[in-house]
Amino acid sequence: MSAPASFSPGASAACAACAALLRRDLSVAWRRRGEILQPLLFFVIVAALFAFAAGPDAALLAEVAAAVIWVGALLATLLALPRVFADDYRDGALEQLLLSPHPPTVLALTKTLLHWLLSGAPLVLSAPLLAEMLGLPRHAWPALLASLLLGTPALSLVGAVGAALTLAARGGGALLALLVLPLTLPVLIFGAGAVNAAAAAGGIGDGGDLVAAPLLWLGALLLLALAFAPLTIVAALRASLN
């Protein structure tokens, strides 16, 4: 089977390089799986702590469930952020990334995809468990999953910019949080907003625009981040390596 005509040899070579990079990073992650699981466990524990702290009032817990899950997801994403580039920065592999003949933006995007696969995707998968634990109405689950599916990749993209910027800084971890958290506010507002609207509505599909609008906004934010984050990440990496 031949490749589509629009697919230049350069593009397919870049895809092969990205696949190799992804494979390499996934096997590194597999060898450090204990470390990789930490953000997910953190996410689960934060949500469980809320359940304990709020006491036996199930109605109150259901009311704040969306907020708890979204804040937990945000913090768990943040926790995994320093790992995106730190190892490669330390051992010099990041320099090789920028010296590759393939577009550095595509490689940076691959790194960000890996961060999402290791932090965002497990969060999405474990969200129903937490939603059940916190008593979020079942009819709000589709909105919860949709909001996380659209929102967590945007968080990864914005976060990767911060991770690249703070690579060379001392005390980069706290700086990273201070830098990234304000930028993630829109994602948090629309994400939790969509789930709250869905929970307030009667059943699946109810709530109409009140649910759809924040989800569309999340989609727009994701596209915006996809367009601008890769270039910004590469510029930040160059500055950090200079």
Binding site: A16, A17, R24, R31, G92, E95, L99, S100, P101, R238
Partner: protein
């Protein structure tokens, strides 16, 4: 052809060198000499485009490296003073991943043969964090065997190497020159049996 003209490098308040020009054609080896902190690494980073010069420019095949980045990077191998070997992966996995990133898929056999030639046949599958500094350096040099030709920029390739590995490195550099490739390296000892042109940074301060 790699060509630098009028390079000036400033780090913080210090001007490390200025007006530095050099030219490499196929078969040329260039040995950069200078004291510790005189800017050898900075020069290599300018040459490969990781940092930008205060003044002057670097050209590859007649065009500034910023303009034909992909071409230049396809021909380029840079070994910094860090080896770019991930500690959790074996030397074999590291070499394969590096080749894929550089757009040259290394057949498995080549990567094995290269590592065996550098005397790492016994630790092909050991995670790199278990290797000694010298062994890591050997693994990085084995990467050169997979990407002959083009231009090699090597920052202290001889660091931590023992005598037999040094002889290998000399041979590899000689073969690179003989095959029409280029290499620029820094080192405090004689490499490539004196076949390399010398560039003293002290002449450009």
């Amino acid at each position: 052809m790699l060509e630098a003209s009028g390079l000036e490098c400033v780090r913080g308040q210090r001007r490390l060198f200025s007006g530095l020009s050099c030219k490499l054609e196929g078969g040329d080896l260039l040995h950069i000499r200078g004291e510790n902190g005189s800017g050898k690494t900075s020069l290599l980073r300018l040459l490969c485009g990781l940092s930008l010069p205060e003044a002057g420019e670097v050209r590859w095949g007649g065009a500034p490296i910023g303009k034909n980045r992909a071409d230049f990077h396809r021909a380029l191998v840079y070994i910094g003073h860090r080896d770019a070997l991930n500690g959790d992966l074996s030397a074999l996995e590291n070499l394969r991943a590096a080749c894929a990133l550089a757009g040259r898929a290394a057949p498995d056999l080549d990567a094995r043969a290269a590592l065996r030639r550098m005397g790492l046949g016994g630790c092909l599958h050991l995670p790199c964090r278990a290797l000694s500094a010298g062994q890591r350096r050997r693994a990085a040099i084995a990467g050169l065997l997979l990407r002959p030709g083009g231009v090699w920029l090597l920052d202290e390739p001889a660091a931590a190497l023992d005598d037999s590995a040094l002889r290998q490195l000399d041979e590899i550099l000689a073969a690179q020159a003989a095959s029409g490739g280029m290499a620029v390296f820094t080192s405090h000892r004689e490499l490539a049996a004196g076949r390399a042109r010398q560039l003293r940074l002290a002449d450009f301060t």
